[in-house]
């Protein structure tokens, strides 16, 4: 009697697991001659309504847009490693260059005539999509992250600093100006308010303003030279003058510090607007935006690509070409605050509404100017290897009082050693 029960149980379990697991083989088309394209993106990286419109614009296409939360890269890499399971169209973040060594996982958009689209996009953004030999374009630009100075108008006034955005942009032109203003603020508030949130921001934002980063286009390490050294020195100077609050971004601590007014400014990308608004509702109306001291830069931003596993690359190309045209980018700005990569629309009034959180300033005027002046810089696939070491050393300097010169030497040494693993 027990045997029967056992066998039945096993059978039931196997049947259940087996039938539930019946996945249809997807050859990318259904009965009516429509083709199916899958698209992977993450929350708020693309306009959901726009994606719905794809099927109206392209009646022969059925678009399966899938939101992937969390570890997007791990999922994509698993699909690449197994050579199956990748979507037709995929969103990529600013780590797009990390895929240059494996560019053959993506369709070369030049093969579909994408060169004709170049004039539509910001040149530095376009350059990020093309491999250093200029032959292979692995993605089209999506949104960008032009940077600017976020500052508290009321705290600046207290310190006797200029408050109007135009004046701030004019008077805080260099990092030295910015640091000097920081000292003024410290004196005026008896050290209770900091000009900078942490020195990693100083380092990264100085770097974002440069035309060279850690590697040259032959992927050789040049991070021990200018401008990396200058970014490092800026960060160290801010630390030694005691002008940084030492609070890492993206943490509840940072949010609390902003909300309480313990930090008076930071250089950040346009997408920091939403973060700041969520983090510091008590400071509504007190923030303003000015041009960043040291120059304009870019931080973040995303891209859209077609994987080689796609069975319909031609149709996919038409779709992404349409998704990222200037008109659609203009509309996406309104809904999701995703800053466009197509400068032709920068003059449109829809780009520059008044924003109450920033005292009714039309902040995108500043961000548009910033976006137009970003310098083109080569990131390369190993950018984050070098960046993570510098970040770690800087936070050790800031939090555990490691001497700065020693930290620099250790950073260079460690990066060179790790590069041997590649």
């Amino acid at each position: 009697m027990r045997w029967k029960q056992l066998i039945l149980l096993c059978l039931a379990a196997v049947l259940a697991a087996g039938t539930a697991g019946c996945g249809q083989k997807d050859d990318g088309s259904d009965g009516n001659g429509k083709i199916t394209l899958t698209l992977w993106y993450w929350n708020r990286s693309m306009d959901d309504n726009l994606l719905k419109q794809v099927e109206q614009k392209f009646p022969n296409i059925h678009l399966k847009a899938e939101k992937i939360g969390g570890d997007f890269k791990a999922k994509l890499m698993a699909a690449f490693a197994a050579r199956s399971g990748a979507p037709d169209i995929v969103g990529l973040n600013d780590w797009v260059a990390e895929f240059f060594p494996n560019r053959d996982q993506f369709v070369n958009l030049f093969d579909y005539g994408s060169k004709e689209l170049k004039p539509l996009y910001l040149e530095w953004k376009w350059n990020q999509t093309v491999t250093p030999d200029g032959q292979y374009q692995i993605a089209l630009p999506m949104d960008t992250g032009p940077t600017a100075l976020f500052y508290r108008e009321d705290l600046f006034q207290k310190a006797g600093l200029p408050t109007d955005p135009k004046e701030v942009s004019a008077q805080l032109k260099t990092w030295d100006d910015y640091i000097a203003a920081g000292e003024k603020l410290k004196k005026a508030t008896n050290g209770s308010v900091y000009m900078f949130d942490n020195i990693n921001t100083v380092f990264n934002q100085t770097l974002a303003q440069s035309d060279k980063l850690y590697f040259n286009t032959a992927d050789e390490f040049i991070g021990d030279q200018e401008p990396v050294k200058r970014a490092w020195d800026n960060a160290v100077k801010v630390h030694e003058l005691g002008l940084s609050a030492g609070i890492s971004g993206g943490t509840p601590e940072w949010n609390a510090a902003m909300n309480k007014g313990d930090v008076a400014s930071f250089i950040g990308a346009v997408w920091m607007k939403q973060i700041l608004m969520d983090a510091a509702p008590d400071t509504k109306g007190k923030w303003r935006i000015a041009r960043a001291p040291g120059g304009d830069g870019n931080s973040g931003g995303s891209f859209i690509a077609i994987t080689k596993q796609s069975k319909h690359p031609k149709e996919a190309y038409e779709v992404i070409k349409w998704l990222e045209n200037p008109e659609n980018q203009l509309n996406t700005l309104g809904t999701y605050n995703l800053f466009p990569s197509t400068p032709s629309i920068f003059g449109d009034p829809k780009m520059t509404p008044q924003e109450p959180f920033f005292g009714n300033q039309r902040t995108n005027e500043i961000f548009s100017e910033s976006a137009k002046h970003v310098k083109s810089a080569y990131r390369g696939p190993k950018f984050s290897i070098a960046n993570s070491v510098f970040s770690d050393k800087l936070s050790t300097v800031e939090n555990q009082n490691l001497p700065a010169d020693q930290a620099w030497q250790e950073a260079i040494k460690r990066i060179r050693k790790e590069l041997l693993l590649y």
């Binding site: 539930a20 708020r44 990286s45 939101k67 939360g69 973060i275």
Partner: protein, 276 residues
């Protein structure tokens, strides 16, 4: 409670209550966040009292993601996978605990060895295996690998070693039981508390599993809860109040299940295994 002095009772309760407060507090705060707004969550000093936003947050969750279908998927995967694990691990654990056979040491050591290799590394090779088997995107891929739980066998072996006494098995043999009946009729009832524990633990693990389902599932209709919930996170900023509400919704069923099953392995009267 005969003969125990008051101070002993009080001390006992005090120690336990301190432990309870420490255990429960983060969960309490989670509930507070789920009833607040996202801005409230960032306040300092932190807000520790319940807000009034629970309904709003829950509605947000339901609007953004397909909660109930993921819920059903998760239940299905967790239940089937747990039943299978209980059966196969108790069978094998019993064998290791009570019998000698050639190769026993080697086989068991192999288990321990694999437990010592971090599972993060097996993500990509496991995906490649699934691709070869054609199981990518199926529930099979979630259920079947879990059945080979080294931890499960190890636990059942240890429990069986202590709980199932050899005299019982000998008695069973004398009564004419075959090996399977020894397992099914004699050992299994005694193993019940151990099984209940393994069941609960495996169920929770399956329920909260995130990275593997994220990577292996392709059809959003098949997503399990943790994967679906992760869709609520934005790349630059997140509505934490909504996410916390979603987390609360995903955790409550586990609590209820734990309540129901815990009686199985924590009986109010200490059970005697040897009948007089």
């Amino acid at each position: 409670m005969i003969g125990q002095p008051i101070w002993k009772k009080a001390l006992l309760h005090l120690v336990l209550i301190v432990g309870v407060v420490l255990s429960v507090f983060p969960f309490y705060w989670l509930a507070v966040m789920a009833t607040s707004t996202t801005s409230d969550i960032y306040r300092f000093p932190p807000k520790l009292t319940f807000g009034s936003q629970l309904i709003v947050n829950v509605q947000n969750v339901l609007n953004h993601i397909n909660f109930f279908s993921s819920f059903l998927n998760t239940v299905f995967v967790a239940v089937v996978s747990t039943v299978l694990v209980l059966f196969f691990c108790s069978l094998a654990g019993f064998a290791f605990a009570k019998f000698e056979f050639p190769g026993k040491k080697v086989l068991f050591t192999l288990l321990l060895v694999t437990m010592m290799i971090p599972s993060q590394l097996s993500l990509i090779p496991s995906f490649m295996i699934m691709q070869k088997l054609g199981w990518v995107g199926t529930f099979k891929a979630l259920i079947v690998p879990g059945m080979a739980s080294a931890f499960g066998i190890f636990w059942m072996r240890q429990y069986a070693t202590g709980a199932v006494h050899d005299e019982l098995l000998s008695a069973g043999r004398i009564d004419g039981c075959g090996t399977f009946r020894l397992f099914w009729n004699v050992a299994l009832p005694i193993l019940r508390p151990g099984l209940a524990f393994l069941g609960i633990f495996h169920f929770i693990g399956s329920w909260n599993d995130y990275l593997w389902p994220l990577v292996i599932l392709t059809d959003p209709a098949k997503y399990t809860l943790q994967v679906t919930l992760s869709q609520l996170n934005g790349i630059y900023n997140t509505d934490y109040a909504m996410v916390m509400a979603g987390t609360l919704m995903a955790t409550l069923p586990l609590l209820i299940m734990f309540l129901l099953v815990s009686r199985q392995f924590i009986s109010d009267i200490a059970a005697g295994a040897i009948k007089d």
